[in-house]
Symmetry: C2
Amino acid sequence: MLSTATASRIEAVEAYSGHACYDSRMKNAEKLNETPASKPTINDIARLAGVSKKTVSRVINRSPLLNEDTRERVEAVIRETGYVPNPQARALALGRNFLIGLIHDNPNAQMILNMQQGILEALHGTEFELVVRPVDRGSATMLSDVRGFLERQRLFGVVILPPISENDQLAELCDEIGCRYVRMGSAVLDDADHMVASNDRDAVVEAIRYLISQGHSRIGLIAGPHGFRSARERREGFEIALAEAGIKLPRSLVADGHYTFESGIAATDSLLDLSPRPTAIFACNDEMAAGVLFAARERGLRVPEDLSIIGFDDTPIASRVWPPLTTVRWPIIAMGRSAALKLISGSIAHADEVTEPSTFFSTLIRRGSVVPPAKA
Amino acid sequence: MLSTATASRIEAVEAYSGHACYDSRMKNAEKLNETPASKPTINDIARLAGVSKKTVSRVINRSPLLNEDTRERVEAVIRETGYVPNPQARALALGRNFLIGLIHDNPNAQMILNMQQGILEALHGTEFELVVRPVDRGSATMLSDVRGFLERQRLFGVVILPPISENDQLAELCDEIGCRYVRMGSAVLDDADHMVASNDRDAVVEAIRYLISQGHSRIGLIAGPHGFRSARERREGFEIALAEAGIKLPRSLVADGHYTFESGIAATDSLLDLSPRPTAIFACNDEMAAGVLFAARERGLRVPEDLSIIGFDDTPIASRVWPPLTTVRWPIIAMGRSAALKLISGSIAHADEVTEPSTFFSTLIRRGSVVPPAKA
DNA sequence: TTGTATGCGTTATCAA
DNA sequence: TTGATAACGCATACAA
């Protein structure tokens, strides 16, 4: 919507109008005694500034070859009118939308939402918007679905969340289509431009060392689902820590889980049936750790006196159960922000020297679910 | 990408080409022995079908005034070529994007994500995509921020989540801009075309009746934040149920909360300091109910023997704590789906007779956190 | 350094 | 019922 001052300036320069359309709309609006429904276009700015469309376009896109005076004059008009380039027109002309996609197949609501938050923080104040796209990892048409999505929407770039981020074909697809991408993961799967990773293995090593330092040696593991890189990394961290302490890990102390609460309960049941029982259990995520706690309670076991528990993720559940769970926190929001910045840096102002980190570090959050084991 | 058969048909009708562009690209691709990078456009379809662009456009947009033969011929070509209209071009020409926005300021991750899931289910298989837009209710520029967003992106429509959905100015803004909207809420705030509501008050009445039927009469309430409609509705349900049972509600049995875990703990502390203590507490959401449980444990109280608890929302936390919480479940996903369908029905096929419901009903989920009170 | 002419792929107008 | 032509608003090639 143009201010009155601006509108009269348009009248003054009316001679040069390329399209008659804008002016006729103005007249129409005046007839109806309404404010004009249409916003100023690049044509209006060009006329008001007394330059060509192309010059305005150069200002918008920060072209280096541009006279300072011209630039300032055009920028002044843009400020006065509140002109904003039409994203739809830009998308058509550029063959690329100003949209960032979030591709995920993750069941963990808190993680997805934190990731969204991080991405949105990075996008805030830019011209980019976030489009959410869940996919079905199991589906045979997953790749062609994503291809259709990317080709049709012509996204500027996508952030891919684990575990689907581990799918190399998906990354290749993005490359082939010419869509930028950044993969999130619990280990480095791609080069620094296309990857933001946590270091799950080291974090778990630290967690298990802590259990051992508390005197635990009969430690159960509830592993994550097969095929998940994070599950592999966390399990390896577990094994490394035990090995360096010279603790043997009998097969029976490893139970399979699926990152779900229910699978945590089931796995715990099998572990607690052992004799002697483990004095501590490390679950590869908090959902399963909450299941451990739940299953222990069902048996009348005291936590942490009879059983210590460590989880992974530091989702809200970890701090809301009783006792609150010791767990590993990884900086999801910061990682989301970094991923988005990797995509759009270069297309935003003040981004000259931004080098986004590619690897993030996790920290052990000590709460009440770990104490030294009871005397045998 | 065109099939070989299709490509040769293009050659056959080449005479009519409007733009030379497409053909030159084809030749270029052949020279380089690559598949053509560009997808077929409406021009290609028009040539292949031997009709004008406008006719193809009519087929795409299901224009009623169209010869059946013509329609079928064009549709056949579309199927053969796998042609999909370019959303960017449509957006520019129509002045409207094929995007559905989700506007929210809600701190509850699970709710937002469930809502997203419901919306995405409705959007699946359509040409619409979901754009996420969190807003800051407290910000002075909230309305102008949203205005800028809507005007710039020219969304097809938006779904507005509570509590920001209770802001009437926001709805008026959508109207003014000409952006369709559907508001979600815990009570009916708008007409059926613009509203999808749960009935929180009745659900709470049922929950409190259940407590009373179990023998409770000294029941504490942890209210939601002032200014939230859901907080008001739930509180009113609480008061109605007590009144109809002839139970007086002393002011001291009502504690203020903010829908957060921590506020639930604080409110519980004040309630449990009373003498005599309440034998049951209804918290206006599960987060606070989890806080009740936590605070009770800190005091060494047994739940449910010493204190019964009911929450609201049936978020995952409710079923993961010990004991699992009796709570009220409202059909978030179904409501999200319904909201999205309200927006896009009319623009999708097979939507002739779809009348989306506007009010959804909640159910009391009975778990282990409620038992009759101990004998006084 | 700046401007002209044209393309991007679709829909709308209005005449046939 | 269909089609020629002009928008839609911006970007690019090529001149100037």
